[in-house]
Amino acid sequence: MSDHAQGGHGTLKSYMVGFLLSVVLTLIPFWIVLGDVMDSTGWAIAIIFTLGATQMLVHIHYFLHVSLKVEAGWQVMSLGLTVLLLVIVMAGSIWVMFNLDENMMPAHEQIERVRNLP
């Protein structure tokens, strides 16, 4: 039992590594926004999201101690299922609603279009 309990808690070293990585991964996106260092907004957002996703993985590994070991497999399994559902829900809604926005033009544009018909 003791090795099971120890295995799930991490060590001082693993907590410190996770913490330092988190500090760096937090400071960079805030620096990008506060320092206004990027010319392209698209790239800035892409970097913010990549660093955010990386920091989430850091937290899952160093703080939540999700391991791929067989005895803790249920953790990875349920996490995998959750991530799958999240991707379906989030990517699905954003995709559908974006298409809806594109195809449902504002009324004044439609009036303009009817007016320009031959």
């Binding site: 039992m1 099971h4 990008i32 926004v33 957002i45 939540l64 959750t82």
Partner: protein, 213 residues
């Protein structure tokens, strides 16, 4: 997929059961609690996922009201982010102290965690009252509705975690580092780190991206 997820716990218990004699009966129970709590966290994660998706869809509809760049103070959010990050590492220290059976150290680090959590809640409350005061209420636009629901739900979770932490401190004071209390500390530890993880999504999507767009 549903077949796999419902089969896993059964298989897990079938494998684990023969390993443990009478003296380890509690271990079985403990793993069951951790499994149940983990599944709760995953379902909570889905709730937040849906709120994130709602914000991603509605977040650009300002209804001629204020936009994120007019409202958010990124410096304040940076301080709040670090309050939560520090509370995560101090809770880690509390768990490490608990592994060494150091009751005083556990309680001390948990109190520090609670103080950082309270600091985070104070900053969030300050931001919300400020927004309310200048008329940026949830009623003003779809952006603000989804903003208050997402960030407010996270804030309520932190409040709930803080109340749980206070209750756990009382339990630790009364019964010391008993088996049950260790299990409770581990559950709260998972919950607390999970909230910090959700906050990463909040500051990336809502605050940083919102100010840039």
């Amino acid at each position: 997929m549903t077949g796999t997820s419902s089969d896993t716990p059964k298989e897990f218990f079938v494998i684990e059961d023969p390993h443990h004699g009478d003296d380890h009966g509690e271990h079985h129970h403990e793993t069951g609690t951790m499994l149940g709590f983990w599944i709760y966290l995953m379902s909570d994660c889905l709730i937040f996922g849906i709120l994130f998706a709602t914000y991603a869809v509605l977040g650009q509809n300002y209804a001629a009201g204020p936009a994120p760049a007019d409202l958010f103070e990124i410096e304040l959010i940076l301080v709040a982010t670090f309050a939560l990050l520090f509370s995560s590492i101090t809770f880690g220290f509390a768990v490490l102290r608990m592994d060494m059976n150091d009751l005083r150290g556990t309680i001390l680090w948990m109190i520090i965690t609670g103080l950082f959590g309270a600091g985070f809640l104070y900053l969030e409350l300050k931001e919300f009252t400020h927004l309310w005061h200048i008329g940026a209420t949830p009623m003003a636009s779809a952006f603000l509705s989804s903003f208050f629901v997402l960030v407010g739900t996270h804030g309520l979770h932190v409040l709930g975690g803080s109340i749980w932490l206070i209750v756990l401190l009382i339990q630790l004071g009364q019964h010391g580092l008993s088996h049950e209390n260790k299990r409770r500390v581990m559950c709260l530890s998972l919950f607390w780190h999970f909230l910090d993880l959700i906050w990463i999504g909040v500051f990336s999507l809502v605050y940083l991206t919102g100010v840039l767009l």
